[in-house]
């Protein structure tokens, strides 16, 4: 079966902490503008709220508005027991969307959310996976990648050791 070019392109639904790393800490607004021309980038309204609460820069807000498609997600009730019956964290909304749209990739860095994705056989990647996607699309050059690596390494924002190792693999190869 031949897939149309649109169908071969991945779709992503983002969690808050990955947006903070990519947009705020790495300053990838321009790269997102280009990525959004080729991919569908979704963000649940709950995540938009979380991101905007912590972001003080208009540039970041503009990136969110121009590059991401806001989603009014219907909560997947079957996920509630895994989140102690609370729907306050961004991940439950991200995973709810991906559960109903299996071709979509969740973009989550936190281990808890990634574990739930694995348990439900949902596609999952993280901030580093998005950087890799930008690299493969030619949006980020080798010098951009080195600069991003330095920024992520110097920020105090949490990334697990596994993700730091992935970052090195992508930036140094």
């Amino acid at each position: 079966m031949n897939l149309s070019p649109e169908k071969t392109k991945r779709e992503f639904v983002f969690d808050t902490s990955t947006l903070i790393i990519l947009v705020e800490k790495c300053g990838l607004s321009d790269a997102f503008t280009r990525l959004a021309q080729e991919r569908k980038l979704y963000v649940p309204t709950r995540v938009v709220e979380e991101f905007l609460v912590g972001s003080n820069f208009n540039d970041h807000k503009r990136t969110l508005r121009d590059c991401f498609i806001p989603l009014n997600v219907t909560l997947a009730d079957e996920l509630l027991p895994y989140f102690n019956f609370k729907s306050t964290s961004g991940e439950i909304w991200v995973i709810s969307y991906a559960l109903r749209n299996p071709s979509c990739f969740c973009v989550i860095d936190e281990e808890f959310g990634r574990n739930i994705c694995k348990l439900f056989s949902i596609n999952v990647t993280g901030a580093i996976g998005i950087i890799d996607e930008m690299k493969r699309d030619g949006i980020l050059s080798s010098s951009d990648l080195h600069c991003i690596r330095d920024k992520i390494r110097s920020t105090r924002f949490y990334l697990s050791k596994y993700l730091c190792d992935e970052l090195d693999r992508i930036c140094l190869t």
Binding site: S17, N84, S89, E110, F112, F157, Y158, S160
Partner: protein, 186 residues
């Protein structure tokens, strides 16, 4: 007679003991860990098939303990050191028993075991107390653990047992502040 009736596995306590030991590559479990994993599962299911009481270590069940002893006597469960595992007969029985459960129920049980089974006792107890605050009632441990909450919460987050949102809530700070407070060594 089926193995289910032969070993009284129509009792939820017995069935859950066999099932929890059979999942996740049949990882052995300590008494504390299977007690808490089954309690976690029951809370996820919003059911109270097994009688739990709140003692010094939070929710524990004599019903589970009694049935564990019965299953040891039947030769379905064996103890190695302080950990329990299924015998060959226990595994055969588990394969029959598992057919009676739907995928969603088993997924919750796998999750409960995955969440708890490799945690040191302090992290395990603290996670359970925080997830299910009613189990703090008669606890002798909770107050002591609260003194170590900064470390315990960070460890639970880094091991993927709680979300950043939960961690921040338990520490009464913002999620972003929590993530920024973690250093590389975490």
């Amino acid at each position: 007679m089926s193995v289910i009736t032969e070993y009284g596995l129509d009792s939820p306590a017995r069935a859950l003991l066999i099932l929890v030991l059979s999942i996740k590559d049949r990882e052995p479990m300590s008494k504390l860990h299977f007690q808490k994993a089954i309690l976690y599962f029951e809370r996820m299911q919003k059911q109270q098939d097994i009688d739990f009481s709140d003692f010094h270590y939070g929710g524990v069940s004599y019903e589970l303990q009694e049935n564990l002893e019965a299953l040891e006597e039947y030769g379905l469960i064996d103890r190695v050191g302080n950990k329990y595992m299924l015998t060959e007969e226990g595994e055969k029985t588990a394969r029959e028993l598992i057919k009676q459960y739907d995928k969603e129920t088993l997924r919750k049980l796998v999750f409960a075991k995955q969440q708890l089974n490799d945690l040191p006792d302090k992290e395990l107890l603290y996670l359970m107390y925080k997830l299910f605050p009613d189990t703090q009632a008669n606890s002798t441990e909770y107050k002591k653990l609260e003194e170590e909450k900064q470390t315990l919460i960070r460890k639970l987050f880094c091991k993927g047992r709680i979300t950043a949102h939960m961690a921040a809530e338990w520490l009464a700070i913002s999620e972003k502040d929590f993530l920024e407070s973690l250093s590389r060594k975490d």
